[in-house]
């Protein structure tokens, strides 16, 4: 199994939740936990790309889903991967009732705030998973 944790967002294109999950994932893998967490295209799992499927099976995966359709979790499991942690943006919204993210293409202020909160959660989970592995 690889050292790094794999964070897979759903990147759902129809709702702000998909954009928020995607944005938070990039914050984690490109900034907060650079070198310790990585991501890959969920699309590759949809098409059954061999390399992507191998990577998912070989990693501890964090699925970041926007909505109850749970595409990231389902596609990871269908590829034979283990979802070590599952986060749903909608659940985070319920904990932060004052936030109303509306924009999908480019996050608005509330979307950015929720992304930052989610990114911290994902980063903490990356730490927990890598610590547990030692």
């Amino acid at each position: 199994m690889t050292e790094r944790v794999l964070v897979i967002p759903c990147s759902g294109i129809g709702k702000p939740f998909g954009s928020i999950g995607r944005d938070a994932t990039f914050r984690v893998v490109d900034e907060l936990r650079r070198g310790r967490a990585e991501t890959n295209c969920l699309s590759l799992l949809v098409t059954g790309d061999e390399e992507a499927v191998r990577q998912v099976k070989d990693s501890l995966c964090i699925a970041v889903d926007g909505c109850p359709m749970e595409c990231a979790r389902k596609n990871i499991e269908m590829a034979g991967g283990v979802v070590a942690a599952h986060m749903r943006v909608m659940d985070l919204l319920r904990e932060n009732r004052g936030l109303r993210p509306r924009e999908v293409t480019f996050l608005d202020g509330d979307g950015e705030k929720l992304s930052a909160i989610l990114a911290d959660r994902i980063a903490a989970k990356v730490d927990e998973l890598t610590e547990a592995r030692r």
């Binding site: 129809g14 709702k15 909505c67 109850p68 919204l93 319920r94 009732r97 109303r100 509306r102």
Partner: protein, 152 residues
């Protein structure tokens, strides 16, 4: 299972009306069992509202026809579940507190909203076929409006 519903596809969405229930033009369904009626919102209502994040119940007790007896909140708006007739609310679906998305996933089943007892006549309710016709017009009209606004 497929015959349990009347169904129409608008764009990529299959909209369903459950057979055997009664309906209001406020997109509320009513399932009468003896003196008690179970109510909820229709597939169209949950689809148009979007992902439901909260469900709130103001109180048990009496409500007039058309009065909001519950609200549900999405990222788009706070929307009302309007009482289908004069009634006394006996119970709300507690499961929606933890999982409000049950309304989106199963609006005619696990996503029920309240159990009520009518305190006045249950008038003006639509049959399943009548509501189906109403729903189709409303859905197609809404699709045309959203396409003009560039929404998904």
């Amino acid at each position: 299972m497929a015959e349990e519903y009347l169904s129409v596809t608008v764009d990529k969405f299959a909209l369903k009306v459950r057979r055997g229930l009664r309906y209001t033009r406020d997109d509320v369904w009513v399932q009468q069992t003896g003196e008690t009626s179970r109510i909820g919102i229709t597939d169209l209502a949950q689809r148009m509202g979007g992902d439901i994040v909260f469900v709130d119940y103001p109180r048990l007790g009496r409500f007039k026809a058309g009065e909001p007896l519950a609200t549900y909140e999405t990222i788009k708006a706070v929307l009302d579940v309007k009482s289908p007739f004069d009634c006394q609310v006996e119970a709300f679906n507690d499961g929606l507190g933890e999982r409000p998305e049950l309304i989106n996933e199963d609006p005619y089943g696990l996503g029920w909203v309240a159990d009520v007892v009518a305190t006045g006549p249950a008038e003006g309710l639509l049959t399943d076929h009548e509501y189906f016709g109403f729903m189709k017009e409303k859905a197609e009209g809404e699709t045309r409006r959203l396409k003009g606004a560039g929404d998904d």
